[in-house]
Protein backbone atom coordinates (compact mmCIF):
# COMPACT_ATOMS: atom_id res chain seq x y z
CA UNK A 1 0.00 0.00 0.00
CA UNK A 2 1.48 3.40 -0.92
CA UNK A 3 2.18 5.78 1.92
CA UNK A 4 -0.47 8.31 0.87
CA UNK A 5 -3.16 5.67 0.70
CA UNK A 6 -2.14 4.26 4.04
CA UNK A 7 -2.28 7.70 5.62
CA UNK A 8 -5.76 8.41 4.28
CA UNK A 9 -7.05 5.05 5.47
CA UNK A 10 -5.57 5.82 8.89
CA UNK A 11 -7.40 9.12 9.01
CA UNK A 12 -10.63 7.42 8.01
CA UNK A 13 -10.21 4.66 10.56
CA UNK A 14 -12.65 4.66 13.46
CA UNK A 15 -9.82 4.77 16.03
CA UNK A 16 -8.63 8.00 14.55
CA UNK A 17 -11.99 9.75 14.59
CA UNK A 18 -12.48 8.58 18.18
CA UNK A 19 -9.10 10.01 19.09
CA UNK A 20 -9.95 13.39 17.54
CA UNK A 21 -13.29 13.43 19.35
CA UNK A 22 -11.51 12.56 22.59
CA UNK A 23 -9.04 15.39 22.21
CA UNK A 24 -11.85 17.84 21.43
CA UNK A 25 -13.71 16.71 24.55
CA UNK A 26 -10.59 17.10 26.68
CA UNK A 27 -10.10 20.62 25.33
CA UNK A 28 -13.72 21.56 26.02
CA UNK A 29 -13.60 20.26 29.58
CA UNK A 30 -10.20 21.80 30.22
CA UNK A 31 -11.39 25.22 29.06
CA UNK A 32 -14.67 24.97 30.96
CA UNK A 33 -13.00 23.98 34.21
CA UNK A 34 -9.36 24.48 35.04
CA UNK A 35 -9.46 21.66 37.58
CA UNK A 36 -10.18 19.09 34.90
CA UNK A 37 -6.51 18.62 34.07
CA UNK A 38 -5.29 19.01 37.66
CA UNK A 39 -3.12 16.16 38.99
CA UNK A 40 -5.78 15.26 41.53
CA UNK A 41 -8.52 14.96 38.93
CA UNK A 42 -6.36 13.04 36.48
CA UNK A 43 -5.34 10.70 39.28
CA UNK A 44 -9.00 10.22 40.09
CA UNK A 45 -9.92 9.37 36.52
CA UNK A 46 -6.99 6.98 36.25
CA UNK A 47 -8.14 5.16 39.38
CA UNK A 48 -11.49 4.29 37.81
CA UNK A 49 -10.33 3.82 34.25
CA UNK A 50 -8.61 0.41 34.50
CA UNK A 51 -11.56 -1.24 36.22
CA UNK A 52 -13.92 -0.72 33.30
CA UNK A 53 -11.10 -0.68 30.78
CA UNK A 54 -9.96 -4.20 31.66
CA UNK A 55 -13.46 -5.55 31.06
CA UNK A 56 -13.65 -3.59 27.81
CA UNK A 57 -10.55 -5.39 26.48
CA UNK A 58 -12.23 -8.77 26.84
CA UNK A 59 -15.48 -7.38 25.47
CA UNK A 60 -13.65 -6.07 22.38
CA UNK A 61 -12.30 -9.51 21.54
CA UNK A 62 -15.69 -11.09 22.17
CA UNK A 63 -17.53 -8.51 20.04
CA UNK A 64 -14.98 -8.97 17.26
CA UNK A 65 -15.85 -12.66 17.26
CA UNK A 66 -19.52 -11.68 16.92
CA UNK A 67 -20.80 -12.24 20.47
CA UNK A 68 -21.25 -10.10 23.53
CA UNK A 69 -21.68 -10.48 27.25
CA UNK A 70 -24.22 -8.64 29.38
CA UNK A 71 -23.27 -10.47 32.57
CA UNK A 72 -19.94 -8.68 33.13
CA UNK A 73 -21.34 -6.10 35.55
CA UNK A 74 -22.91 -8.79 37.70
CA UNK A 75 -19.70 -10.85 37.66
CA UNK A 76 -17.84 -7.70 38.66
CA UNK A 77 -20.08 -7.63 41.75
CA UNK A 78 -20.20 -11.35 42.57
CA UNK A 79 -16.50 -12.28 42.31
CA UNK A 80 -15.18 -10.05 45.15
CA UNK A 81 -18.22 -10.86 47.30
CA UNK A 82 -17.46 -14.58 47.05
CA UNK A 83 -13.79 -13.95 47.80
CA UNK A 84 -14.61 -11.96 50.93
CA UNK A 85 -17.19 -14.44 52.16
CA UNK A 86 -14.65 -17.24 51.82
CA UNK A 87 -12.08 -15.23 53.75
CA UNK A 88 -14.38 -13.93 56.49
CA UNK A 89 -16.76 -16.82 57.05
CA UNK A 90 -14.78 -19.70 55.61
CA UNK A 91 -11.42 -18.74 57.12
CA UNK A 92 -9.84 -19.39 53.73
CA UNK A 93 -6.45 -17.90 52.89
CA UNK A 94 -6.83 -14.75 50.81
CA UNK A 95 -4.75 -16.14 47.93
CA UNK A 96 -6.83 -19.31 47.75
CA UNK A 97 -10.02 -17.26 47.97
CA UNK A 98 -8.95 -15.06 45.07
CA UNK A 99 -8.19 -18.13 43.01
CA UNK A 100 -11.58 -19.61 43.87
CA UNK A 101 -13.24 -16.35 42.82
CA UNK A 102 -11.49 -16.43 39.45
CA UNK A 103 -12.42 -20.09 38.96
CA UNK A 104 -16.04 -19.14 39.55
CA UNK A 105 -15.67 -16.57 36.76
CA UNK A 106 -14.20 -19.27 34.50
CA UNK A 107 -17.27 -21.39 35.19
CA UNK A 108 -19.70 -18.54 34.47
CA UNK A 109 -17.92 -17.71 31.20
CA UNK A 110 -17.82 -21.37 30.19
CA UNK A 111 -21.55 -21.77 30.80
CA UNK A 112 -22.28 -18.65 28.74
CA UNK A 113 -20.05 -19.88 25.93
CA UNK A 114 -21.32 -23.44 25.91
CA UNK A 115 -24.98 -22.41 25.79
CA UNK A 116 -24.35 -19.85 23.05
CA UNK A 117 -22.28 -22.12 20.82
CA UNK A 118 -23.61 -25.60 21.48
CA UNK A 119 -27.31 -24.90 21.95
CA UNK A 120 -27.32 -21.94 19.63
CA UNK A 121 -29.13 -19.30 21.66
CA UNK A 122 -28.11 -15.71 20.98
CA UNK A 123 -25.56 -14.30 23.38
CA UNK A 124 -27.93 -11.42 24.16
CA UNK A 125 -30.48 -13.76 25.75
CA UNK A 126 -28.01 -16.13 27.38
CA UNK A 127 -25.93 -13.44 29.06
CA UNK A 128 -29.00 -11.40 30.02
CA UNK A 129 -30.28 -14.42 31.94
CA UNK A 130 -26.82 -14.95 33.38
CA UNK A 131 -26.79 -11.33 34.54
CA UNK A 132 -29.92 -12.02 36.61
CA UNK A 133 -28.60 -15.28 37.99
CA UNK A 134 -25.23 -13.84 38.97
CA UNK A 135 -26.58 -10.60 40.40
CA UNK A 136 -29.24 -12.53 42.26
CA UNK A 137 -26.62 -14.86 43.68
CA UNK A 138 -24.52 -11.92 44.89
CA UNK A 139 -27.52 -10.36 46.62
CA UNK A 140 -28.67 -13.62 48.16
CA UNK A 141 -25.38 -14.80 49.61
CA UNK A 142 -24.74 -11.38 51.17
CA UNK A 143 -28.39 -10.83 52.13
CA UNK A 144 -27.96 -7.53 50.33
CA UNK A 145 -25.32 -6.08 52.66
CA UNK A 146 -21.93 -4.90 51.49
CA UNK A 147 -18.95 -6.70 52.99
CA UNK A 148 -15.89 -5.07 54.41
CA UNK A 149 -13.10 -5.90 52.04
CA UNK A 150 -9.64 -7.18 52.84
CA UNK A 151 -7.65 -4.20 54.04
CA UNK A 152 -4.58 -5.67 55.68
CA UNK A 153 -1.55 -4.70 53.65
CA UNK A 154 0.08 -7.58 51.90
CA UNK A 155 1.13 -9.04 48.60
CA UNK A 156 -2.33 -9.30 47.04
CA UNK A 157 -3.46 -5.85 48.08
CA UNK A 158 -0.31 -4.36 46.56
CA UNK A 159 -0.72 -6.51 43.47
CA UNK A 160 -4.32 -5.47 42.85
CA UNK A 161 -4.78 -2.10 44.47
CA UNK A 162 -1.39 -0.76 45.51
CA UNK A 163 -0.68 2.84 44.67
CA UNK A 164 2.35 4.89 43.83
CA UNK A 165 3.13 8.53 43.16
CA UNK A 166 4.72 10.03 40.10
CA UNK A 167 5.31 13.70 40.87
CA UNK A 168 2.00 14.95 42.15
CA UNK A 169 0.08 12.20 40.36
CA UNK A 170 -1.11 9.22 42.32
CA UNK A 171 -1.61 6.02 40.35
CA UNK A 172 -2.86 2.57 41.28
CA UNK A 173 -1.20 -0.67 40.22
CA UNK A 174 -4.41 -1.43 38.36
CA UNK A 175 -3.15 0.97 35.72
CA UNK A 176 -0.26 -1.42 35.06
CA UNK A 177 -2.74 -4.27 34.75
CA UNK A 178 -4.66 -2.26 32.19
CA UNK A 179 -1.52 -1.29 30.25
CA UNK A 180 -0.15 -4.83 30.27
CA UNK A 181 -3.43 -6.45 29.30
CA UNK A 182 -3.97 -3.84 26.59
CA UNK A 183 -0.60 -4.64 25.03
CA UNK A 184 -1.40 -8.34 25.15
CA UNK A 185 -4.81 -7.78 23.58
CA UNK A 186 -3.32 -5.64 20.80
CA UNK A 187 -0.79 -8.36 20.09
CA UNK A 188 -3.37 -11.13 20.04
CA UNK A 189 -5.89 -9.33 17.85
CA UNK A 190 -3.52 -7.82 15.31
CA UNK A 191 -0.47 -10.00 15.16
CA UNK A 192 -1.29 -13.49 16.42
CA UNK A 193 -2.86 -16.37 14.57
CA UNK A 194 -5.68 -16.33 17.12
CA UNK A 195 -6.54 -12.74 16.20
CA UNK A 196 -6.94 -13.73 12.57
CA UNK A 197 -9.34 -16.44 13.69
CA UNK A 198 -11.30 -14.11 15.98
CA UNK A 199 -11.84 -11.55 13.21
CA UNK A 200 -12.69 -14.24 10.68
CA UNK A 201 -15.26 -15.85 12.99
CA UNK A 202 -16.99 -12.52 13.57
CA UNK A 203 -16.80 -11.58 9.92
CA UNK A 204 -18.07 -14.84 8.42
CA UNK A 205 -18.34 -17.74 10.81
CA UNK A 206 -19.11 -20.31 8.11
CA UNK A 207 -16.06 -19.32 6.10
CA UNK A 208 -13.86 -19.68 9.17
CA UNK A 209 -15.32 -23.07 10.04
CA UNK A 210 -14.89 -24.22 6.45
CA UNK A 211 -11.17 -23.41 6.77
CA UNK A 212 -10.88 -25.58 9.85
CA UNK A 213 -10.99 -22.75 12.42
CA UNK A 214 -12.47 -24.10 15.70
CA UNK A 215 -15.02 -21.30 15.96
CA UNK A 216 -16.96 -22.67 18.93
CA UNK A 217 -13.86 -23.29 21.03
CA UNK A 218 -12.54 -19.80 20.31
CA UNK A 219 -15.86 -18.23 21.32
CA UNK A 220 -16.09 -20.27 24.53
CA UNK A 221 -12.58 -19.20 25.54
CA UNK A 222 -13.43 -15.58 24.81
CA UNK A 223 -16.53 -15.80 27.03
CA UNK A 224 -14.32 -17.25 29.77
CA UNK A 225 -11.71 -14.53 29.26
CA UNK A 226 -14.32 -11.75 29.44
CA UNK A 227 -15.82 -13.20 32.59
CA UNK A 228 -12.42 -13.60 34.27
CA UNK A 229 -11.44 -10.04 33.38
CA UNK A 230 -14.75 -8.79 34.82
CA UNK A 231 -14.10 -10.71 38.04
CA UNK A 232 -10.52 -9.43 38.23
CA UNK A 233 -11.75 -5.87 37.73
CA UNK A 234 -14.30 -6.38 40.50
CA UNK A 235 -11.59 -7.59 42.88
CA UNK A 236 -9.35 -4.64 42.02
CA UNK A 237 -12.23 -2.29 42.71
CA UNK A 238 -13.18 -3.96 45.99
CA UNK A 239 -9.60 -3.82 47.25
CA UNK A 240 -9.23 -0.19 46.25
CA UNK A 241 -12.31 0.99 48.13
CA UNK A 242 -12.05 -1.68 50.86
CA UNK A 243 -15.61 -2.85 50.35
CA UNK A 244 -17.29 -5.58 48.38
CA UNK A 245 -20.85 -4.66 47.53
CA UNK A 246 -23.30 -7.10 45.96
CA UNK A 247 -24.62 -4.30 43.76
CA UNK A 248 -21.19 -3.13 42.57
CA UNK A 249 -20.94 -2.92 38.80
CA UNK A 250 -24.63 -2.42 38.14
CA UNK A 251 -25.01 -1.09 34.60
CA UNK A 252 -21.34 -1.66 33.79
CA UNK A 253 -22.21 -4.05 30.96
CA UNK A 254 -23.71 -1.25 28.88
CA UNK A 255 -21.00 1.23 29.83
CA UNK A 256 -18.35 -1.25 28.70
CA UNK A 257 -20.12 -2.05 25.43
CA UNK A 258 -20.44 1.71 24.85
CA UNK A 259 -16.67 2.12 25.36
CA UNK A 260 -15.99 -0.63 22.84
CA UNK A 261 -18.31 0.57 20.09
CA UNK A 262 -17.42 4.23 20.59
CA UNK A 263 -13.84 3.14 19.94
CA UNK A 264 -14.86 1.79 16.56
CA UNK A 265 -15.38 -1.94 17.09
CA UNK A 266 -18.37 -3.18 15.08
CA UNK A 267 -21.28 -4.49 17.14
CA UNK A 268 -21.89 -6.99 14.35
CA UNK A 269 -18.45 -8.56 14.60
CA UNK A 270 -15.45 -8.88 12.31
CA UNK A 271 -13.95 -5.46 12.95
CA UNK A 272 -12.33 -4.87 16.31
CA UNK A 273 -9.75 -2.40 17.53
CA UNK A 274 -8.09 -2.47 20.94
CA UNK A 275 -6.57 0.98 20.44
CA UNK A 276 -10.07 2.26 19.73
CA UNK A 277 -11.34 0.62 22.91
CA UNK A 278 -8.60 2.30 24.96
CA UNK A 279 -9.60 5.66 23.49
CA UNK A 280 -13.25 4.77 24.09
CA UNK A 281 -12.56 3.91 27.72
CA UNK A 282 -10.62 7.14 28.25
CA UNK A 283 -13.38 9.08 26.55
CA UNK A 284 -16.28 7.70 28.58
CA UNK A 285 -14.32 8.10 31.79
CA UNK A 286 -13.49 11.72 31.06
CA UNK A 287 -17.03 12.48 29.90
CA UNK A 288 -18.46 11.21 33.19
CA UNK A 289 -15.86 13.11 35.15
CA UNK A 290 -15.86 16.30 33.08
CA UNK A 291 -19.63 16.62 33.01
CA UNK A 292 -19.75 16.67 36.79
CA UNK A 293 -16.94 19.19 36.96
CA UNK A 294 -18.50 21.66 34.56
CA UNK A 295 -21.63 21.62 36.65
CA UNK A 296 -24.16 19.57 34.77
CA UNK A 297 -26.69 18.46 37.39
CA UNK A 298 -26.03 14.92 38.50
CA UNK A 299 -29.43 13.64 37.46
CA UNK A 300 -29.04 15.05 33.96
CA UNK A 301 -25.66 13.67 33.14
CA UNK A 302 -26.76 10.43 31.57
CA UNK A 303 -28.50 12.58 28.95
CA UNK A 304 -25.14 14.04 27.99
CA UNK A 305 -23.33 10.75 28.05
CA UNK A 306 -26.01 9.24 25.79
CA UNK A 307 -25.91 12.14 23.36
CA UNK A 308 -22.12 12.04 23.10
CA UNK A 309 -22.14 8.28 22.49
CA UNK A 310 -24.78 8.67 19.79
CA UNK A 311 -22.77 11.44 18.15
CA UNK A 312 -19.71 9.15 18.09
CA UNK A 313 -21.63 6.30 16.52
CA UNK A 314 -23.15 8.56 13.88
CA UNK A 315 -19.67 9.83 13.07
CA UNK A 316 -18.38 6.25 12.65
CA UNK A 317 -21.31 5.30 10.46
CA UNK A 318 -20.82 8.32 8.20
CA UNK A 319 -17.10 7.65 7.86
CA UNK A 320 -17.84 4.03 7.03
CA UNK A 321 -20.29 5.05 4.31
CA UNK A 322 -17.76 7.48 2.91
CA UNK A 323 -15.06 4.84 2.81
CA UNK A 324 -17.37 2.40 1.05
CA UNK A 325 -18.19 4.97 -1.60
CA UNK A 326 -14.61 5.92 -2.45
Amino acid sequence: MPVGKRRSSLIRSPQFSSLIMFIVLLAVFAIADANFLSPLNISNMMAFLPELGIIALGMTLLLTAGEFDLSVGAVFGLAPVVVMLLVQNGQVDIGVALLAGLLLCVAIGAINGLIVTKIGISSFLVTLSMLLVVRGAALYITQGFPLKSWDQPGFFVTLLAGSFNIGSFRFYTSLWWFVGLSLLAIYVLRYAKLGNWISAIGSNRNAAVARGVPADAVKIWLFILTSVLAGLAGMISAFRISAASPVAGTGYELEVIAMVVVGGTALTGGRGTILGTIVGALMLRSIRNGIVLIGVPGLAYNIFVGVIILAMLILHALLQKNAARS
Partner: protein, 258 residues
Protein backbone atom coordinates in the same frame (compact mmCIF):
# COMPACT_ATOMS: atom_id res chain seq x y z
CA UNK B 1 -5.92 -41.37 -13.41
CA UNK B 2 -8.60 -41.67 -10.78
CA UNK B 3 -8.45 -39.06 -8.02
CA UNK B 4 -11.72 -39.50 -6.17
CA UNK B 5 -14.07 -42.47 -6.07
CA UNK B 6 -17.35 -42.64 -4.21
CA UNK B 7 -18.99 -45.97 -3.66
CA UNK B 8 -22.58 -46.33 -2.59
CA UNK B 9 -22.69 -43.23 -0.40
CA UNK B 10 -25.78 -43.05 1.81
CA UNK B 11 -27.06 -40.42 4.19
CA UNK B 12 -30.36 -39.96 5.99
CA UNK B 13 -31.69 -37.15 8.12
CA UNK B 14 -34.28 -38.73 10.37
CA UNK B 15 -36.63 -40.51 8.03
CA UNK B 16 -35.55 -38.49 5.00
CA UNK B 17 -33.14 -40.37 2.79
CA UNK B 18 -31.26 -37.41 1.36
CA UNK B 19 -28.71 -39.63 -0.32
CA UNK B 20 -29.96 -43.09 -1.28
CA UNK B 21 -26.95 -44.32 -3.12
CA UNK B 22 -24.29 -42.38 -4.95
CA UNK B 23 -21.28 -43.78 -6.77
CA UNK B 24 -18.98 -42.07 -9.25
CA UNK B 25 -15.36 -41.38 -9.98
CA UNK B 26 -13.45 -38.22 -10.74
CA UNK B 27 -10.27 -38.34 -12.81
CA UNK B 28 -7.23 -36.12 -12.70
CA UNK B 29 -7.61 -32.88 -14.63
CA UNK B 30 -11.29 -33.43 -15.21
CA UNK B 31 -14.20 -31.07 -14.72
CA UNK B 32 -17.34 -32.93 -13.74
CA UNK B 33 -20.63 -31.08 -13.43
CA UNK B 34 -23.12 -32.21 -10.83
CA UNK B 35 -26.62 -31.28 -11.90
CA UNK B 36 -30.04 -31.67 -10.39
CA UNK B 37 -33.06 -29.82 -9.17
CA UNK B 38 -33.40 -28.41 -5.67
CA UNK B 39 -33.56 -31.25 -3.18
CA UNK B 40 -31.94 -33.73 -5.57
CA UNK B 41 -29.17 -34.45 -3.08
CA UNK B 42 -26.32 -32.45 -4.62
CA UNK B 43 -25.73 -30.46 -1.47
CA UNK B 44 -25.81 -33.53 0.72
CA UNK B 45 -23.33 -35.26 -1.54
CA UNK B 46 -20.78 -32.45 -1.56
CA UNK B 47 -21.20 -31.84 2.15
CA UNK B 48 -20.37 -35.49 2.72
CA UNK B 49 -17.25 -35.22 0.57
CA UNK B 50 -16.13 -31.95 2.14
CA UNK B 51 -16.57 -33.21 5.68
CA UNK B 52 -19.46 -31.02 6.83
CA UNK B 53 -21.10 -34.21 8.09
CA UNK B 54 -20.16 -37.86 7.89
CA UNK B 55 -21.91 -40.44 5.77
CA UNK B 56 -24.06 -43.28 7.10
CA UNK B 57 -22.77 -45.90 4.72
CA UNK B 58 -20.50 -46.18 1.72
CA UNK B 59 -16.85 -45.63 0.92
CA UNK B 60 -14.72 -42.76 -0.27
CA UNK B 61 -11.39 -43.36 -1.99
CA UNK B 62 -8.80 -40.68 -2.65
CA UNK B 63 -6.19 -41.83 -5.18
CA UNK B 64 -7.16 -45.40 -4.55
CA UNK B 65 -6.79 -45.11 -0.77
CA UNK B 66 -9.87 -45.67 1.31
CA UNK B 67 -10.39 -42.66 3.57
CA UNK B 68 -12.78 -41.50 6.25
CA UNK B 69 -13.74 -37.84 6.25
CA UNK B 70 -15.09 -36.66 9.58
CA UNK B 71 -14.40 -32.92 9.46
CA UNK B 72 -13.72 -30.13 7.01
CA UNK B 73 -10.13 -30.30 8.23
CA UNK B 74 -9.93 -34.00 7.23
CA UNK B 75 -11.15 -33.14 3.75
CA UNK B 76 -8.67 -30.28 3.40
CA UNK B 77 -5.82 -32.50 4.55
CA UNK B 78 -6.80 -35.04 1.87
CA UNK B 79 -6.62 -32.31 -0.76
CA UNK B 80 -10.34 -31.71 -1.13
CA UNK B 81 -11.16 -28.01 -1.07
CA UNK B 82 -14.74 -26.81 -1.20
CA UNK B 83 -15.82 -23.35 -2.23
CA UNK B 84 -19.32 -22.57 -1.05
CA UNK B 85 -21.67 -20.10 -2.67
CA UNK B 86 -20.88 -16.93 -0.80
CA UNK B 87 -19.58 -18.26 2.45
CA UNK B 88 -15.97 -18.81 1.54
CA UNK B 89 -14.32 -15.55 2.54
CA UNK B 90 -14.38 -13.27 5.56
CA UNK B 91 -15.16 -9.80 4.16
CA UNK B 92 -13.50 -7.89 7.01
CA UNK B 93 -10.15 -9.57 6.49
CA UNK B 94 -7.55 -8.68 3.87
CA UNK B 95 -7.05 -10.86 0.81
CA UNK B 96 -3.76 -12.12 2.22
CA UNK B 97 -5.31 -13.06 5.57
CA UNK B 98 -8.18 -14.81 3.81
CA UNK B 99 -5.88 -16.77 1.55
CA UNK B 100 -4.15 -18.30 4.56
CA UNK B 101 -7.08 -18.47 6.94
CA UNK B 102 -6.73 -21.62 9.02
CA UNK B 103 -3.22 -22.23 7.62
CA UNK B 104 -1.47 -19.06 8.67
CA UNK B 105 2.31 -18.94 8.30
CA UNK B 106 3.68 -18.16 11.77
CA UNK B 107 6.91 -17.56 13.62
CA UNK B 108 7.57 -19.24 16.99
CA UNK B 109 5.27 -22.12 16.22
CA UNK B 110 5.44 -23.44 19.79
CA UNK B 111 3.21 -20.56 20.91
CA UNK B 112 0.28 -22.36 19.31
CA UNK B 113 -2.69 -20.09 18.61
CA UNK B 114 -0.75 -17.22 20.19
CA UNK B 115 2.07 -17.51 17.66
CA UNK B 116 2.75 -14.30 15.73
CA UNK B 117 1.77 -14.30 12.07
CA UNK B 118 4.67 -14.14 9.66
CA UNK B 119 3.27 -11.00 8.07
CA UNK B 120 6.02 -10.57 5.47
CA UNK B 121 5.65 -14.13 4.29
CA UNK B 122 1.88 -13.80 4.33
CA UNK B 123 1.94 -10.73 2.10
CA UNK B 124 4.62 -12.02 -0.26
CA UNK B 125 2.96 -15.38 -0.74
CA UNK B 126 -0.38 -13.69 -1.31
CA UNK B 127 1.06 -11.29 -3.89
CA UNK B 128 2.87 -14.07 -5.70
CA UNK B 129 -0.28 -16.14 -5.75
CA UNK B 130 -2.42 -13.29 -7.06
CA UNK B 131 0.12 -12.80 -9.84
CA UNK B 132 0.39 -16.49 -10.68
CA UNK B 133 -3.32 -17.12 -10.96
CA UNK B 134 -3.50 -14.20 -13.33
CA UNK B 135 -5.87 -11.96 -11.49
CA UNK B 136 -4.62 -9.19 -13.66
CA UNK B 137 -6.49 -6.30 -12.14
CA UNK B 138 -3.61 -5.75 -9.77
CA UNK B 139 -5.38 -6.61 -6.57
CA UNK B 140 -3.59 -5.48 -3.45
CA UNK B 141 -2.94 -8.36 -1.06
CA UNK B 142 -3.71 -5.99 1.83
CA UNK B 143 -7.08 -4.91 0.42
CA UNK B 144 -10.12 -5.96 2.40
CA UNK B 145 -12.27 -8.60 0.74
CA UNK B 146 -15.32 -6.38 1.37
CA UNK B 147 -13.97 -4.01 -1.29
CA UNK B 148 -13.94 -6.72 -3.99
CA UNK B 149 -16.59 -7.62 -6.54
CA UNK B 150 -18.37 -10.97 -6.46
CA UNK B 151 -16.30 -12.37 -9.31
CA UNK B 152 -13.06 -11.26 -7.72
CA UNK B 153 -14.12 -12.98 -4.50
CA UNK B 154 -14.83 -16.25 -6.33
CA UNK B 155 -11.46 -16.02 -8.05
CA UNK B 156 -9.73 -15.44 -4.71
CA UNK B 157 -11.54 -18.42 -3.19
CA UNK B 158 -10.64 -20.66 -6.11
CA UNK B 159 -7.02 -19.58 -6.12
CA UNK B 160 -6.85 -20.31 -2.43
CA UNK B 161 -7.92 -23.85 -3.19
CA UNK B 162 -5.30 -24.13 -5.95
CA UNK B 163 -2.58 -22.75 -3.72
CA UNK B 164 -2.89 -25.63 -1.31
CA UNK B 165 -2.39 -27.99 -4.23
CA UNK B 166 -5.86 -29.36 -3.84
CA UNK B 167 -6.45 -32.55 -5.81
CA UNK B 168 -10.17 -31.94 -5.91
CA UNK B 169 -11.80 -28.54 -5.94
CA UNK B 170 -15.55 -28.50 -5.31
CA UNK B 171 -17.29 -25.40 -6.60
CA UNK B 172 -20.78 -24.90 -5.20
CA UNK B 173 -22.74 -22.57 -7.48
CA UNK B 174 -19.68 -20.45 -8.28
CA UNK B 175 -21.53 -18.18 -10.70
CA UNK B 176 -24.53 -17.41 -8.52
CA UNK B 177 -25.21 -13.69 -8.19
CA UNK B 178 -22.50 -12.79 -10.68
CA UNK B 179 -22.78 -10.49 -13.68
CA UNK B 180 -22.23 -11.78 -17.23
CA UNK B 181 -18.65 -10.65 -17.51
CA UNK B 182 -17.73 -11.90 -14.07
CA UNK B 183 -19.32 -15.24 -14.82
CA UNK B 184 -17.13 -15.59 -17.90
CA UNK B 185 -14.14 -14.68 -15.78
CA UNK B 186 -14.92 -17.43 -13.29
CA UNK B 187 -15.56 -20.01 -16.02
CA UNK B 188 -12.27 -19.12 -17.68
CA UNK B 189 -10.69 -19.58 -14.29
CA UNK B 190 -12.19 -23.06 -13.98
CA UNK B 191 -10.52 -24.00 -17.27
CA UNK B 192 -7.20 -22.71 -15.98
CA UNK B 193 -7.66 -24.76 -12.84
CA UNK B 194 -8.13 -27.88 -14.97
CA UNK B 195 -5.13 -26.96 -17.12
CA UNK B 196 -3.07 -26.81 -13.92
CA UNK B 197 -3.98 -30.43 -13.26
CA UNK B 198 -6.64 -30.07 -10.57
CA UNK B 199 -9.93 -31.91 -10.76
CA UNK B 200 -13.11 -29.93 -10.38
CA UNK B 201 -16.55 -30.95 -9.20
CA UNK B 202 -18.88 -28.20 -10.33
CA UNK B 203 -22.33 -27.81 -8.82
CA UNK B 204 -24.59 -25.49 -10.73
CA UNK B 205 -28.12 -24.76 -11.87
CA UNK B 206 -26.99 -23.26 -15.12
CA UNK B 207 -26.71 -25.91 -17.81
CA UNK B 208 -25.20 -23.47 -20.29
CA UNK B 209 -22.18 -23.04 -18.06
CA UNK B 210 -21.81 -26.78 -17.85
CA UNK B 211 -21.46 -27.12 -21.59
CA UNK B 212 -18.80 -24.44 -21.62
CA UNK B 213 -16.43 -25.98 -19.10
CA UNK B 214 -17.36 -29.52 -18.08
CA UNK B 215 -15.99 -32.78 -19.48
CA UNK B 216 -18.64 -34.97 -17.94
CA UNK B 217 -22.12 -34.52 -16.49
CA UNK B 218 -23.67 -36.32 -13.55
CA UNK B 219 -27.37 -35.82 -12.90
CA UNK B 220 -29.02 -36.46 -9.55
CA UNK B 221 -32.69 -36.88 -8.73
CA UNK B 222 -34.22 -37.68 -5.35
CA UNK B 223 -30.98 -38.71 -3.75
CA UNK B 224 -29.76 -40.89 -6.59
CA UNK B 225 -27.49 -40.53 -9.56
CA UNK B 226 -29.76 -41.03 -12.55
CA UNK B 227 -27.43 -40.29 -15.43
CA UNK B 228 -23.76 -39.93 -16.23
CA UNK B 229 -22.59 -38.80 -19.64
CA UNK B 230 -19.67 -37.10 -21.31
CA UNK B 231 -20.50 -33.66 -22.61
CA UNK B 232 -19.54 -34.68 -26.13
CA UNK B 233 -22.18 -37.44 -26.12
CA UNK B 234 -25.14 -35.36 -25.12
CA UNK B 235 -26.82 -32.04 -25.63
CA UNK B 236 -28.58 -29.39 -23.67
CA UNK B 237 -32.13 -30.56 -24.24
CA UNK B 238 -31.38 -34.13 -23.27
CA UNK B 239 -29.74 -33.09 -20.04
CA UNK B 240 -32.60 -30.77 -19.24
CA UNK B 241 -35.13 -33.54 -19.63
CA UNK B 242 -33.12 -35.85 -17.39
CA UNK B 243 -33.01 -33.22 -14.67
CA UNK B 244 -36.74 -32.61 -14.73
CA UNK B 245 -37.45 -36.34 -15.03
CA UNK B 246 -39.22 -36.26 -18.33
CA UNK B 247 -38.73 -39.51 -20.22
CA UNK B 248 -36.26 -40.63 -17.65
CA UNK B 249 -36.57 -44.36 -18.06
CA UNK B 250 -35.49 -44.33 -21.66
CA UNK B 251 -32.46 -42.22 -20.88
CA UNK B 252 -31.54 -44.33 -17.93
CA UNK B 253 -31.47 -47.40 -20.13
CA UNK B 254 -29.29 -45.54 -22.54
CA UNK B 255 -26.94 -44.58 -19.76
CA UNK B 256 -26.75 -48.08 -18.35
CA UNK B 257 -26.05 -49.51 -21.78
CA UNK B 258 -22.87 -47.45 -22.00
Amino acid sequence: MEVLRLQNLQKSFGSVRALKSASFTLDEGEVVALLGDNGAGKSTLIKAISGVFSIDRGEIYVRGQKVSIRSTRDAMDLGIETIHQDTSLAPDLSIARNLFLGREPVNLKWLGVFAPLDLAKLRDAASALLKRVGISKKLDADALVSTLSGGERQSIAISRAMQFAAKVIILDEPTNNLGVEETHGVLRFVKEVRAAGHSVLLITHNIHHVFQVADRIIVMRRGEIVAEQTVADTDLLTVESIITGADMSALLKETRAK
